[in-house]
Symmetry: C2
């Protein structure tokens, strides 16, 4: 059921257009995946997601394992049935979350023991095998190998040891995975060390996965450093598999990622910012609580085609947010996701038409000028 | 632009079917008005409101006066333009809210001085004239006279004095109102004293309004007492004007109100309960946080035709609410409002077909049996 087709390679950049076939339909790449941590992209219904043009969403294994539990979700035919979303879903492995628990987790070569952020007392144990098993119960179209995450900054020794552990765990994930029709992606680690990134990518390709993700980026490093890590990894990855830059990023990051050969992205930025009243536009950010918007009858972005910009003014959104009305959260999320997903459409189109670098130049100039 | 047409009178009850023509379209009565206090029916967009079948919504003058201010809303062509709702709107006068401020307000015959619940320091002064002026700026299709509200319980003397003040204020509202095409409704007061209710109704009819509301009910009195007050007022009101029971109520209250000749209702109950996870159904209440719904794959109400019941299970709604996901608030609100508005459709239909009392009996029996 799963396959990846490379449709077009850009001549001027490493950008490419592709298509991923999954049990729940096709995805055209480069693609941005809205984040639906708790089996819902915050504030949006599945109808809203279709309206903004979402092709695939991401959900978080760690959160769903704790609440409502993957056993319950399995009874509903997996996440698709539970949340009534009939298009593709990707789940992460929970690795990033359990490694983020700091004092609440203990790492061994077998796996990670952690205390839930919900019921502080309860101890749980994640291994590569359980991470795969839980993701099989959740039933996502694409699932992720359980990786050892590296904080930033990290010493070369620590990064190297973590990388080795991630590779051992990657093998165990590969072996544990049943024949469910789900795709399994490996995760390139290696901290901010280009040679470790290369070693990681090559070793993962030797194991063999349906796609390859770059983990541990956008964690505090500079932009040039992030770009360098992408450039250190991508050449070692096969052309005929999708490449996924995890947890990234700003509109600029997406364009720079595509330029370097990335096919998939996810990030909470458009959804989280929307709930704070920070909106993305073709000319830069709009911080709606700013007093200058108090009586502003314009939509967030006069060039935007989303339903929020069609129906509502900046002044109304500002009022809703100031008055604590949750409608503001949904309307803002619709706008920000539409902006991100529309940007990806424009990127794909420009790649198709062989003018990606031109598009990139114009897009960046426009946002710089008016920000 | 404003008119009321009495279409059908029920033979077995005082129920009636009517039609109100307003500058923003027609309303068929009996009608329930969802409450949109701050220029939004909490959690819903105008598209959602159309989907659940709302014909008219209510908004609150007191809240909008304080935030964002009626001057700002006027710049947007009134509430309709500001919130992008193109169907009828009714605004209350702010009387109920300023009288509820207890220690923060001072009443004189001229009006009410009050301190805002938002900016505790700022003092404001509402008079019959300012209440009309603010409502003219808000631009609702139906506006309400500024009334003196009576707490429950209240002595006969207090109720009588308040009633007299309400009548003097009603005259001033009538005189202050400009020729805006907006309908102005008077408000029957009189506490829980049937003879005062009668005096109030008759005096208001002498002044002459486009419709008549019953205020100060559902404030803690018993159901029989509320029904008695309706029965004491309605016979003194003209047949050719709509009758509006303010702030009421439960599904049972709506049916009992219609039975006694009421045409219009508003209440926060369906929207507020939805946000607490309490859902109205044909067989009684569903309190979704109850553990019995944890793995329940059924919709809230298998007999319901709303989009929430079409798309989502009780278990999913319970998960969303437990996880603090605001999508739960909107999905629940859609269901509860659909239930209320569908009930009104069924009531109108039963009146049309001369079988209202039969419908009432069946509806009440069904909810009693399974609650």
């Amino acid at each position: 059921m799963y396959s990846f087709t490379l449709i077009k390679k850009d001549k001027a950049s490493s950008g490419r257009v592709g298509s991923i076939t999954t049990p729940h339909g096709e995805i055209t790449t480069p693609v941005f995946m809205p984040v639906g941590t708790q089996a819902t992209v915050k504030t949006l219904s599945p109808d809203d997601l279709r309206e903004v043009g979402a092709e695939i969403i991401l959900s978080n294994t760690y959160h769903l394992f704790l609440r409502p539990g993957h056993g319950l979700i399995r009874e509903f035919g997996g996440l698709h049935g539970f949340m009534n979303w009939d298009r593709p879903i990707l789940t992460d492995s929970g690795g990033f979350q359990v490694f983020s628990l700091a004092d609440l987790r203990k790492i061994s070569d077998d796996g990670v023991t952690f205390q839930s952020h919900l019921d502080g007392g309860a101890k749980h144990f994640f291994t590569p095998e359980t991470a795969v098993e839980i993701q099989e119960a959740l039933g996502a179209d694409i699932i992720m190998a359980f990786d050892a995450c590296i904080p930033y900054p990290a010493s070369r020794d620590y990064a190297g040891e973590s990388l080795e552990r991630t590779l051992r765990w990657a093998v165990r994930c590969r072996e544990a995975k049943k024949d469910t029709g789900q795709a399994l992606f490996g995760i390139v680690q290696g901290g901010m060390y280009p040679d470790l990134r290369k070693i990681s990518a090559e070793a993962l390709v030797d194991i063999g996965f349906d796609g390859y993700a770059l983990g541990g980026l956008s964690v505090g490093e500079t932009k040039p450093m992030m770009y360098e890590m992408i450039e250190a990894s991508v050449p070692s990855l096969p052309e005929d598999k999708p490449r996924y830059l995890m947890g990234v990023g700003t509109p600029e990051d997406l364009i720079e990622g595509v330029d370097r050969g990335i096919d998939m992205f996810d990030c909470v930025m458009p959804t989280r910012n929307a709930r704070n009243g920070t909106y993305f536009t073709s000319f830069g950010k709009v911080v709606i609580k700013n007093a200058r918007y108090e009586r502003d009858q314009q939509p967030i972005d006069p060039e935007c085609g989303c339903s929020t910009c069609r129906d509502f003014s900046r002044a109304y959104l500002r009022h809703l947010l100031n008055a604590g009305e949750v409608l503001a959260l949904r309307l803002g999320t619709i706008h920000n996701l539409f902006f991100y997903l529309n940007l990806m459409r424009e990127i794909r189109q420009s790649l198709d038409q062989g003018r990606f670098r031109e598009f990139k130049r114009e897009f960046l100039a426009k946002r710089e000028n008016k920000d």
